[in-house]
């Protein structure tokens, strides 16, 4: 009996893998095997190159890989992945270790610029503080999107549009009216939220895949408008000379009246970088604070209930359209804040910074971190963005590596790194987190 089962396992696996190999062969023949190239020796003549070896390698890789996956994972009743996940902490992290990570990261973030300065000096640390600013920007964006995707369960693939609205709001308001950063920051958030409502109104009737596709389209529309409205936005040339933020009216400039001279420091360009770091840090913390508070309020509970079951929500008298709109608008608002920060940091923006890839990265951070988990977003942002920069030397391979890492994480922890939900209200002091297996992902 045992032997026969083994036998059929092997046979089935080989059959399946052969099928995959045949498909690979058919595809690879045309896509890999034949290649048109310009002959260098004989003028600009085109010629056809045959690469049958590459085809054979591709087919072999697919066959072997698929066979291994079949035998060890898919066709087994007790795949080792089960044992593997048994080794991992169950239900995500315990409340305790999660708290340690949380406060550990918070403390680290507070002292980071000074540690780096002390360690590497002003010149050497600049690059790392810049990277930390980038990571924090994505943390903030991730937290903002988490409201929409993680809490309300609405799949938004065009989130970067609101980031763009925020960035352009600041750049244009500063350009045409000379408004300062501190005035534009709230305005950018309000404008982004306003656009969130305008775009949200028609699309929130849609659900699931339809919603995802329409938000994707809206994201692209905004980018294309920015790209083509040359007189107003500068089109592909972008907008430059965006004013830098001041520290309560003190510019980060050399000489009298600047930040450095006011505090009796020697002028250094690192001051502004550190200031920007703490600025985005405060903005991100604000996002987190508001979100965590909202989660414990009726609107936050309604978002989560909406993700769990929209029909039940309506049967309880909840206006689901408004509830979705508030989630959309709030998420957009935080993207708007982050956008105006981006504009002031870069001093230059163009539509190129707001492509679909950005939306995809932010969404990947939210999904990898664990839908609805705030600390998960932080870890995922550090891993994704930090890792991205860290592996810069590997050039084209880093995309490959990241694709693979994402696949591995999704196989190993399909619900994201931190996959437990903390109740928003509890009677007993030590209420446990809810395992993500029970939590719905939302339908639209």
């Amino acid at each position: 009996m045992q032997a026969r089962q083994k036998d059929s396992l092997l046979v089935a696996s080989v059959k399946d893998s052969l099928g995959a190999a045949v498909i690979t062969f058919a595809l690879a023949c045309v896509m890999v095997g034949l290649r048109v190239d310009v002959a260098s020796g004989r003028g600009a003549e085109l010629f056809l190159e045959h690469r049958w070896l590459a085809v054979a390698v591709a087919v072999l890789i697919v066959f072997a890989g698929r066979l291994a996956m079949n035998i060890f994972f898919w066709k087994r009743e007790d795949p080792p992945s089960l044992n593997l996940s048994g080794l991992m902490p169950k239900g995500g992290l315990g409340a305790n270790s999660s708290n340690i990570i949380k406060y550990g990261l918070l403390g680290l973030a507070v002292v980071l610029p000074f540690v780096l300065m002390f360690w590497l000096g002003a010149r050497g640390s600049r690059q790392y503080i810049d990277l930390a600013i980038l990571v924090l920007t994505y943390v903030m964006l991730g937290w903002g999107l988490n409201i929409v995707v993680g809490l309300a369960g609405l799949l938004d693939l065009g989130y970067v549009a609101f980031y763009a609205v925020g960035a352009y709001s600041y750049a244009l308001l500063a350009h045409y009216f000379g408004f300062s950063f501190w005035l534009c920051l709230p305005l950018a958030g309000i404008l982004a939220a306003f656009w969130g409502i305008i775009l949200g109104f028609p699309v929130l009737r849609l659900r699931g895949d339809y919603l995802a596709i329409v938000t994707l389209a809206f994201g692209e529309i905004i980018r294309v408008v920015l790209l083509n409205w040359y007189q107003f936005t500068g089109g592909p040339d972008g907008l430059s000379g965006i004013p830098r933020p001041s520290f309560f009216g003190l510019e980060f400039s050399r000489g009298e009246g600047g930040f450095a001279s006011f505090f009796g420091l020697d002028y250094s360009s690192i001051h502004r970088i550190i200031f920007l770091y703490y600025l985005i840090f405060a903005m991100a913390l604000f996002t987190n604070f508001v979100t965590m508070r909202l989660r414990r309020m009726p609107i936050g509970r309604a978002w989560e209930a909406l993700r769990e079951d929209e029909i039940a929500c309506r049967a309880l008298g909840i206006n689901t359209t408004n509830t979705k709109l508030t989630a959309f608008a709030l998420g957009a608002m935080f993207a708007g804040f982050a956008g105006s920060f981006f504009a002031t940091r870069q001093g230059f923006i163009s539509p190129e910074s707001f492509t679909f890839l950005e939306s995809a990265i932010i969404l990947a951070i939210v999904v990898l971190g664990g839908l609805g988990s705030q600390i998960g977003v932080v870890i995922a942002a550090i891993v994704m963005i930090g890792g991205f920069e860290f592996f810069r030397e590997f050039e084209e391979y880093r995309m490959l590596v990241f694709g693979m890492i994402m696949v591995v994480i999704m196989v190993w922890k399909p619900r994201g790194l931190i996959s437990s939900r903390t109740p928003s209200v509890a009677l007993s002091k030590n209420a446990k987190g809810i395992s993500a297996d029970l939590v719905q992902e939302g339908h639209g």
Binding site: E304, D309, L316, G317, T320, S428, L438
Partner: protein, 282 residues
């Protein structure tokens, strides 16, 4: 004239619901008496759930009127209202044939979500609550008290912080009823609340319904297949078959109505006598 016609909480008038060519409900009229437990019964596919979906606004009736008379004198025409308004303003709450709890949220959270509307007002549509203004804190505490009250009624107070999806089937059914009650309804529509319950759970359900009727200003209408449950707790029974009302009256009356017997045995009216003789009812 029967009691439910004197002071109906809900009047269903000439309700018709068509899905394309299929007429699920055909010219149905009946009254739900205030303070009564009314049972809506009928064979599978008779259109009972469809009636509920019309009452609670999930379907827009093709024809007919649904008049909700609230105890404060307000009249609501349910067929014109959006589904969430029906719960929020007309005070009609419902449960579902296939239980719809928020499985990933705790039992307490489920009951808190049901109090969304008053809490939203108390938190000044979130703004006041976010800024920590007074009123919201107190309302929040009150809402938790209401939830606790119902948790004690359904014996789930010890599990308040467990996810709803972890509950047994019978507990889930009772939680769904408690959740509907947390919206403060005047009419509670229960779609097969006893389906799949064991005798003990069934008894607990009966007690809960009796309690709701006695202690709260809530009328109950329920869909039920189990005749013994219907006969035991309902004051008024309406029988549907193929979307048409075939009987309407006290349990005693309905039990002996030949149309009902025929419908449940699946025979034509004129064969009823013959069937009844065979089964030995006459």
């Amino acid at each position: 004239m029967s009691t439910w016609d004197n002071n109906p909480v809900l009047k269903v008038e000439h309700l018709t619901m068509r899905f394309g060519g299929l007429t699920a409900i055909n010219d149905l009229s009946f009254n739900i008496g205030r303070g009564d437990i009314t049972a809506l019964i009928g064979p599978n596919g008779a259109g009972k759930t469809t009636v509920f979906n019309c009452i609670t606004g999930f379907y827009k009736p093709t024809e007919g009127r649904l008049v909700m008379n609230r105890s404060n004198g307000e009249k609501h025409l349910l067929e014109r209202m959006a589904d969430f308004k029906i719960t929020a303003d007309a005070k009609v709450a419902r449960t579902f044939q296939n239980i719809r709890l928020f499985g990933g949220m705790t039992i307490l959270e489920n009951l808190m979500v049901a109090q969304h509307n008053p809490l939203m007002v108390a938190s000044n549509w979130t703004v006041g609550g976010l800024l920590g203004l007074g009123g919201y804190k107190k309302s929040n505490v009150d809402a938790i008290e209401t939830a606790k009250y119902w948790l004690e009624r359904i014996d789930l107070i010890d599990r308040a912080d467990a996810p709803a999806a972890d509950l047994s089937y019978g507990d889930q059914r009772r939680l769904e009823i408690a959740r509907a009650m947390c919206t403060g309804p005047e009419l509670l529509c229960l779609d097969e609340p006893a389906a799949g319950l064991n005798p003990k759970e069934s008894l607990e359900l009966n007690n809960l319904l009796q309690y709701i009727r006695k202690e709260h200003d809530t009328s109950v209408v329920l869909i039920e297949h189990d005749m013994s449950v219907v006969m035991e707790i309902s004051d008024h029974v309406v029988v549907l078959d193929y979307g048409v009302k075939i009987s309407d009256g006290t349990p005693e009356f309905v039990k002996n109505d030949p149309h009902v017997i025929a419908a449940y045995l699946g025979v034509e009216d004129d064969e009823v006598d013959q069937v009844e003789e065979e089964v030995g009812i006459v």
